[in-house]
């Protein structure tokens, strides 16, 4: 039977591979890039050698210039920093009528005990609407780039990870807890720290752990690209439409049907809870989708 590799050996293996990637790159801030690597025989046949800005001297010059540029920029920024209002003082210009109203009336007006949730999902909901679409945009861009890449070749690391008993056993205990914690975060986002983004990414992390440990087959039955797209669509469309309704009512001075309810209850805070759920779903799907696309070129 083949001896299993220790973690240290694996790390070293990784290390060697990673090191290979860096061999032809020199940081601008290294005054003396290690020269011997250049003589490595397994340099790919591509014609880099003569194009690498020539010599070591040029590279050092580049580094020095970069450091100089950084220093100049840093001095400007530090001059600005020294003039900023003092840290932690209560009379800074930031603490004005805006934040005062958020704290004083936030719970009454939005129904959210967690004022941050009230601010991002009610007072400044337009930002957040944009933000959830940033995620959608990024996922679409990644799909354009990587969909269908590397399907023909399952990476070797994947298989090795799947056979690892430690990972499987740990994951079978941890996955439900992680996902439960994420769902709890999403559902109580208006009551305490948490909310759609953090809860959703925790759920996403749980899904990622599950697929690392048990492969994609089990999860793939529920989460293929079709359900994935429909779920994203439903969540985002719900988000846009409900916010459109609430903005429309707000701008035209109409009353909305959503009321803040009794702060502190789980079913309160009007739109914040459903919006948190929608955001959470989108974020969880996006995170898992990004992982899956990066890993094997499909969802």
């Amino acid at each position: 039977m083949k001896r299993k590799k220790s973690i240290k050996e694996r790390l070293r293996e990784w290390d060697a591979d990673a090191f290979d990637l860096t061999e032809r790159t020199a940081g601008p801030m290294h005054p003396a890039p290690a020269a011997p690597e250049e003589e490595k025989p397994e340099e790919p046949p591509a014609p880099e050698r003569e194009t690498r800005l020539g010599s070591r001297a040029l590279r050092i010059l580049y580094s020095v210039l970069a450091a100089l540029f950084g220093t100049v920029m840093l001095s400007f920024l530090l001059a600005t920093a020294s003039e900023l209002p003092p840290y932690g003082a209560a009379e800074n210009p930031v603490h004005n009528a805006v934040s005062e109203r958020y704290i004083r009336d936030g719970m009454r007006e939005t129904g959210a005990v967690n004022i941050v949730a009230g601010v991002i999902l009610d007072y400044r909901a337009f930002d957040t609407l944009g933000e959830s679409h940033v995620l959608f945009t990024a996922l679409t861009a990644v799909l354009i780039l990587l969909l269908g890449e590397g399907v023909h070749r399952e990476s070797t690391g994947q298989i090795r990870m799947q056979q690892d008993r430690i990972v499987t056993n740990t994951a079978s205990v941890l996955t439900p807890i992680i996902i439960l914690f994420g769902v709890y975060g999403i559902l109580t986002g208006h009551l305490g720290p948490g909310g759609g983004f953090s809860g959703g990414s925790i759920v996403g992390a749980g899904l990622i752990l599950h697929s690392v440990a048990f492969g994609y087959d089990r999860l793939g039955r529920y989460l293929n690209i079709k359900t994935f797209r429909i779920v994203c669509f439903a969540a985002l469309a719900f988000y846009s439409l409900s916010k459109c309704y609430s903005f429309f009512c707000g701008a035209n001075g109409l009353h909305t049907v959503f009321s803040p309810g009794v702060p502190g209850r789980i079913l309160s805070a009007g739109l914040i809870l459903p919006l948190n759920i929608a955001v959470g779903v989108v974020v969880a799907c996006t995170m898992y989708g990004l992982f899956s696309v990066f890993q094997r070129g499909k969802i």
Binding site: D17, F19, L21, G157
Partner: protein
């Protein structure tokens, strides 16, 4: 508490600068994830628990995972490329 904060700030600076200076991509990624964790603790100290949770999950977690995956994908591509060039010769 202030000293703890100062310590964290120092660590943050060390991590931030060293992750940009390290030549090895893997160690640089590990340091970067440490940077994310320190940042999330700092945000907890700054009374922003929402941020702390999100940064721990997103900044240190998901970004780090994606970067590791990229690194591994690059390694696979590199091996494949090496195999192909070997076959050619």
């Amino acid at each position: 508490m202030e000293y703890f904060e100062l310590l964290l700030l120092g660590l943050l600076l060390v991590c931030g600068i060293s992750t940009c200076l390290t030549k090895n991509l893997l160690s640089s990624l590990v340091i970067f994830m440490a940077y994310g964790v320190i940042m999330s603790i700092l945000w907890a100290l700054l009374r922003a628990p929402d941020l702390a949770v999100t940064e721990a999950a997103v900044g240190a977690g998901i970004s780090g995972i994606l970067m590791f995956l990229t690194l591994r994908k690059l390694r696979d591509l590199k091996r494949k490329h090496a195999d192909e060039t070997e076959e050619k010769h």
